[in-house]
Amino acid sequence: MPEWKREIREALAGAKLETDAAREEAVVEELEQDLAERYEELVRNGAAEQDARRMLSEELRDARFLAGLRPPLERRQEPAVPGLGRQERFLAGLSRDVRLGARLLRKNPVFALVAILSLTLGIGANTAIFELLDAVLLRTLPVAAPEQLAEVRVNHAGRIGSTVARQQDFSSAQWKEVETQQQGFSEIAAWSTQGFNLGRGGEARYAKGLWVSGDFFQVLRLQPELGRLLTKSDDYKGCGVEGAVISDGFWQREFGGRADAIGKTLSLNGQPFQVIGVTPASFSGLEAGFNFDVAVPLCSEPTVQGDQSWTAGATTWWLAVIGRLKPGWTAERAAVQLNAVAPGIFAATLPAEYDAAAREKYLKFTFRVLPAGTGVSELRASYAAPLFVLLGISGLVLLIACANLANLMLARASAREREMALRVTLGASRGRLIQQMLVESLLLSAIGAAGGAVLAQALSRLLIGFISSEDNPIFLPLSADWRVLLFTTALGVLTCLLCGIAPALQAARSDPGYAMKGGGRGSTAGRRGLALRRGLVVSQVALSLVLLVAALLFVQTFRNLVSVNAGLQQDGVLVADFDFSPLKMPVGRRPEYKRELLARVRAVPGVDDAAEAINVPMTGNSWNRFIDIPEKGVHRRIIDFNTVSDQFFRTLEVPLLAGRDFEESDTPNSPRVAIVNERFAQEILGGSNPIGVTFRVTRGKPEERVYQIVGLVGNTKYRDVREDFQPIIFLAESQDAEPDPDSTFVVRSGESAASLIGALKEMAERTSPEIVLNFGVLRTSVLRGLARERLMATLSGFYGGLAATLAMVGLYGIVSFMVVRRRNEIGIRMAMGAGRTRILRMILREGMVLLGAGLVIGVILVLAAGNAARAMLFGVKANDAASLGLGVGALAVAAVCASLIPAARATGVQPVEVLRED
């Protein structure tokens, strides 16, 4: 067999082909195979080996062969533009493109700045909100095998009793039964939360406390960072006050992270607990949004809370239950098992004071078991929907920013049409041009995404500041985990495609012939790009109308809530809580002591009015009971109650419409009296005069109290400002013979809150230094309750404004571009005698057509999207005509302004100059 390879190489060397070695080697290999096969065939067909060889060798030296090879082989070796060579694959010449892109950005700093800034803002805003969503909704607990965790909940329709903590499912008795009768969990624990006062007297300083049953840390499989964690042996009946476990954060804060913290004593609500261990830094509690400082065993609760203990209450719902499922058990199976034993559990824990109807309901309660790998959170319920809406809104803003950028890049692509045409002429493939344009937008979006990721860290903390408050601090461990990184990266890629694809496709359509022509006027590619750009502006206008209307609706909601007529004076009212339980006063002495305290508060200089109330209105607390009024046919109506002292209505400026206020003469021994509000008179008594009417309250089983209505007052909000006025019954504080060792005063004063607090503190100090004090300003507390609405109003307002601005920039850009493009036409028209007004009208019409189309689509979108926000609005409809009108009007005015500037420029065109340019 002849050495074909050597022969081919010699032949090619003789021809002196200027091609690269790899290509030449490939040709050698291919020809060698062909020649070998031909040779074999010739020999097979009877040719002599030498003849066959000579024949083929001659072919190789054929001058036409070498001449024919030259063009295809040589042309590809040094492409005029990278990527021309067909063997150069996808992404060939990438680094060259990146360098070129960076150079172009440096050459256009204003474009680069605008582009990067808008992408940074857009991506940052999206990432920040996503980070919050991630922390609230998606992140799993930092414990071993979180997917095995499940929480047990009670289906308790029509339950009667009291809730005292954020955890509201189980009473102590129920928990004990569940603990012994469940089978699906290898470990199960109950827990609750409470603020513990760390100080002794004076203004309270609270630690976030966890009540935990013995197995709590075993359920979570947590290992102590220091010392030991609580175990079953720490949680036994009558344990009194023993050990406490503290969180890593608390350890750092209170003990400076020193090892000798173990064994130190902590005063929690005046009880001395010994620190026995520290939890790992990664663990901040079970609730997304709330961390903890100190965990103490459930069995200590009766000792700490004394006669207000929750453990003994058969109708006090204060515990949550979480467990680790046994291998092979699912949440569903555990629920089935629990519900099989549910009738026994509820029969064994039936509250003695329930009447027949309440018993019947109670015995029908069931359990459900839910996966708890991501912990449990109330924040989820209240913030999931707003966060998703905000994510949607910020997504739209990013979309508008992308449209603007795409527009800018399209304009640049038009300006670079000759460059692109030249590249095509020089042999660049279309794919290559698309790649180059995409690399440019990728560069922009990569910088934008990086900036956005950094910005998001600050923004998300700002957002938490928004929904956090002093008495309800939100703790979210924000860190950029893989989900956040993935989200940001995806946003970056998406924006790259959104901004880059249109200009890239336009560039790819470049007509090579264009490069040869001289002028830059009236090219077809330009017209095609223009249609695209106009489409982009129309969609920008439509989307920004949606965002503007959303912003108007949320701002209005917030304003409505703030200015809503709550029926009482919110300004200048201080809420002061005096906890005198450390005085260990006998129950019988408390009424007198409370009266005395109230008198002292009223005597403080600067105090206009003061009164006591069990529930301060609109701070979220509630208390209700069933009442009966047989003569009015009212049976077992559930009504909200409050207990207040005399002058409560005067202090909060609630009008007394009929009858009288409570008086000194209303004592535990005098006939029981009550005051009702207007709503009660209308709804319960059918609008008749309530004064003199008596009603019965079914409290405990044996106790049935009869009250006579002595006064009628105006309506006030009860739990929060969002609700409608409800019927309320006010009872007299002075008739309570066994009050709690705690007084909450509402104090109205013209003094500043700070000086009033100082004066009250001084008074308390003089009365008894052991009293624990807490202050709040009513207006501020109410506003804090509106954190969600404030968040929505502020952010949607900001985003709405941003969106409108971006859209107007887009509109301005396109009208300006049209003016430039039609300069010749305008010049000719003017030369032919068209007046300035006519030119102005012509250009304005261009902008107005785009605006009109955008607004029509926008209105349709607003009407369609209204449902998504309905639940978050207050006092305003989702399809509120005024907001829609205002949004349309604002955009229209802005659009006229945005097109007027370039239109005015158009009228300044000098016909002579334009014609001379030709």
């Binding site: 036409r64 062969f65 001449a67 024919g68 090879l69 295809p72 590809r76």
Partner: protein
């Protein structure tokens, strides 16, 4: 001599059409293409290495076909060519142009013989 020259011109003119047609259904390597041309034309059309490869490379360079190395188990790797989308379009044009041309020629030359 004169007839031989005419045949060569015909071959040159139709070579692209032949290669593209053979690659239309599936990818083939160079030797296979030239063998198929020879077999199917019953020896009338023959390409040697010198005439065939420049043609093939030119088609590739113009983007009508693309070659790529394929390895099959137990064999040496070979370069297989397939028609690109652009090549398909060109093939379609060539084909109808050829049919028109042949038809026109037949109409004239056929009449002469009739």
């Amino acid at each position: 001599m004169r007839v031989k020259g005419f045949a060569r011109e015909l071959k040159k003119g139709s070579a692209e059409l032949l290669i593209l047609s053979l690659l239309e259904q599936r990818a083939r390597h160079g030797y296979e293409i030239s063998k198929l041309i020879e077999q199917r034309s019953e020896g009338v059309l023959q390409f040697n290495v010198a005439s065939f490869y420049p043609l093939l490379y030119r088609l590739e360079e113009r983007g009508f076909i693309e070659g790529r190395w394929v390895e099959k188990a137990g064999q040496r790797r070979r370069r297989y060519y397939r028609v690109t989308a652009e090549g398909r379009a060109v093939l379609k044009e060539h084909r109808s142009a050829w049919a028109n041309f042949v038809g026109a020629v037949n109409r004239i030359t056929g009449e002469e013989h009739a």
